[in-house]
């Protein structure tokens, strides 16, 4: 079977890329298998669980429901973009502090949904938080610690003297 190939240009985590890929490749396959960014997880593969959430042009989307071809010309962020220069993002810190991670499989997706939410609105209320992450399933925590972490991340953090 010879797969149809296409060329796409995009920016991922701040880096420009031009790649020849099979036209029928999913965005998730591109990210995990071709670019080897393993932070983005495949859970259900049909858009129900949100483990593959990435940000495309500022909006949270399911990488499993997108073709890589649809990313042409777009700006993409994956969970790897949060952790810059070995410093945790405030969202990651809040998740750690609130013990919002158990098995961790849903965490990358939740971090990205949170990142998209806080970029759109820096001070969401609880109901807005719940709505923003309702496309992300977590089977461990029962969500309370996750919501608490997002509330913490949304609060302006007092600067600590170092």
């Amino acid at each position: 079977m010879k797969l149809e190939m296409i060329t796409i240009n995009f920016t991922i985590n701040g880096e420009n890329q031009q790649l020849d890929i099979p036209a029928g490749m999913t965005a998730l396959e591109l990210i995990r298998d071709k670019l080897e960014l393993k932070g983005t997880k495949e859970g259900c593969g049909i858009g129900e669980c949100g483990a593959c959430t990435i940000i495309v042009d500022g909006r949270a989307v399911n990488a499993c429901l997108m073709f890589a071809a649809q990313l042409d010309g777009r700006e993409i962020s994956t969970v790897e973009s949060l952790d810059q220069a070995d410093e945790l993002d405030p969202i990651q810190e809040a998740f750690a502090k609130q013990h919002a991670v158990q098995c961790g499989f849903c965490t990358p997706g939740l971090l990205m949904s949170t990142h998209a939410l806080l970029t759109e609105k820096s001070n969401p209320d609880r109901s807005e938080i719940v709505k923003a992450i309702s496309g992300n399933l977590c089977r461990c925590t029962g969500y309370h610690s996750i919501i608490a972490a997002i509330e913490d991340a949304a609060k302006p953090q007092p600067k600590e003297d170092k």
């Binding site: 029928g24 999913t26 593969g45 049909i46 949100g50 949270a60 949904s113």
Partner: protein
């Protein structure tokens, strides 16, 4: 990974040329949220994907000559963010708000939701109460297709392979209408496929009697419908709790007339009445 070709036309005429040549072995791709699921499950097999999601001509929301025009490639998130939709089609805004998840709302389109012809498409009952027509482009020109005509059965779109929905034309909410809503029941709050959905808009006279009503039901019948019996029954009546329960009962009976009394009727009959009451009770004063 699927064995398909991907084509992204630069304009509408390129898209139509492609469909005219290869429509029968192509699938129109907008958000892709249904296509990807269907490819994965094996229910869809296609040679070409024609990505229309970036055609600017079919991404506008505007009021033209007193009608509301919504481009087929407008995403559900864009419906939700539009002030024009909030003012002219508030029940559609409600449906957009309850649609799937944030991630899916950000890419799924109104054209895709309609063309997929699922009995459960959340945008369909609101489109029905706005007497919406789909404007369909083809090599000969264009034609209008009502939302009722769009689905010839569940998941069966009546459009020809060389046709493409460009936009929808809706009757905007009449100025006197101050009640509009969309409600659904699913297995969970978010992301659940509607087991039952309905949309309505209404207004009342000074004496509280109903002077305007449009009502449509989704998910319960093979294709969504306006339910004129409910509209006729309630027109001119003062909506008391008792009157609304009677209307809900008529609705349940009419639904069972269409579907037959299946095992699920034992749940659906009271549930549809309950959902109808939940939606319409703000009309009681």
């Amino acid at each position: 990974m699927f064995d398909v070709a991907y084509i992204r036309p630069n304009n509408l005429s390129e898209a139509l040329d492609f469909l005219n040549a290869k429509g029968a072995e192509s699938k129109i791709l907008a958000g892709g949220t249904d296509i990807m699921v269907d490819l994965r499950s094996g229910t869809l097999n296609t040679r070409h994907l024609l990505d229309v999601s970036r055609l600017d001509d079919i991404k506008k929301i505007e009021v033209l000559d007193g009608k509301l025009s919504i481009g087929a490639a407008v995403t559900i998130a864009e419906l939700l963010e539009s002030e024009t939709i909030a003012a002219s089609a508030p029940a559609l805004r409600r449906a957009a708000d309850k649609f799937a998840s944030k991630q899916i709302r950000n890419v799924a389109t109104i054209g895709g939701n309609v063309a997929h012809c699922s009995p459960c498409g959340d945008t369909i009952p609101p489109l029905l109460i706005h007497q919406a027509q789909a404007v369909v482009a083809n090599p000969q020109g264009q034609r209008n297709v009502t939302i009722e005509e769009m689905a010839s059965g569940p998941y069966h779109c009546s459009l020809h392979p060389n046709e493409l929905i460009t936009h929808f034309i809706l009757e905007p909410k009449p100025p006197e209408v101050d009640f509009a809503d969309f409600q659904k029941i699913g297995r969970r709050q978010e992301l659940a496929i509607a087991r039952m959905s309905m949309a309505a808009m209404a207004s009342k006279e000074d004496d509280d009697s109903i002077s305007f009503l449009r009502f449509a039901l989704g998910s319960c019948t093979p294709t969504p419908h306006r339910f004129y019996e409910i509209e006729d029954f309630l027109m001119g009546k003062i909506p008391t709790e008792d009157v609304l329960w009677q209307a809900g009962k008529i609705l349940a009976e009419k639904m069972l007339d269409i579907t037959g009394r299946r095992p699920s009727a034992i749940y659906k009959e009271p549930a549809i009445q309950g959902l109808f009451m939940r939606m319409m009770s703000p009309l009681i004063q």
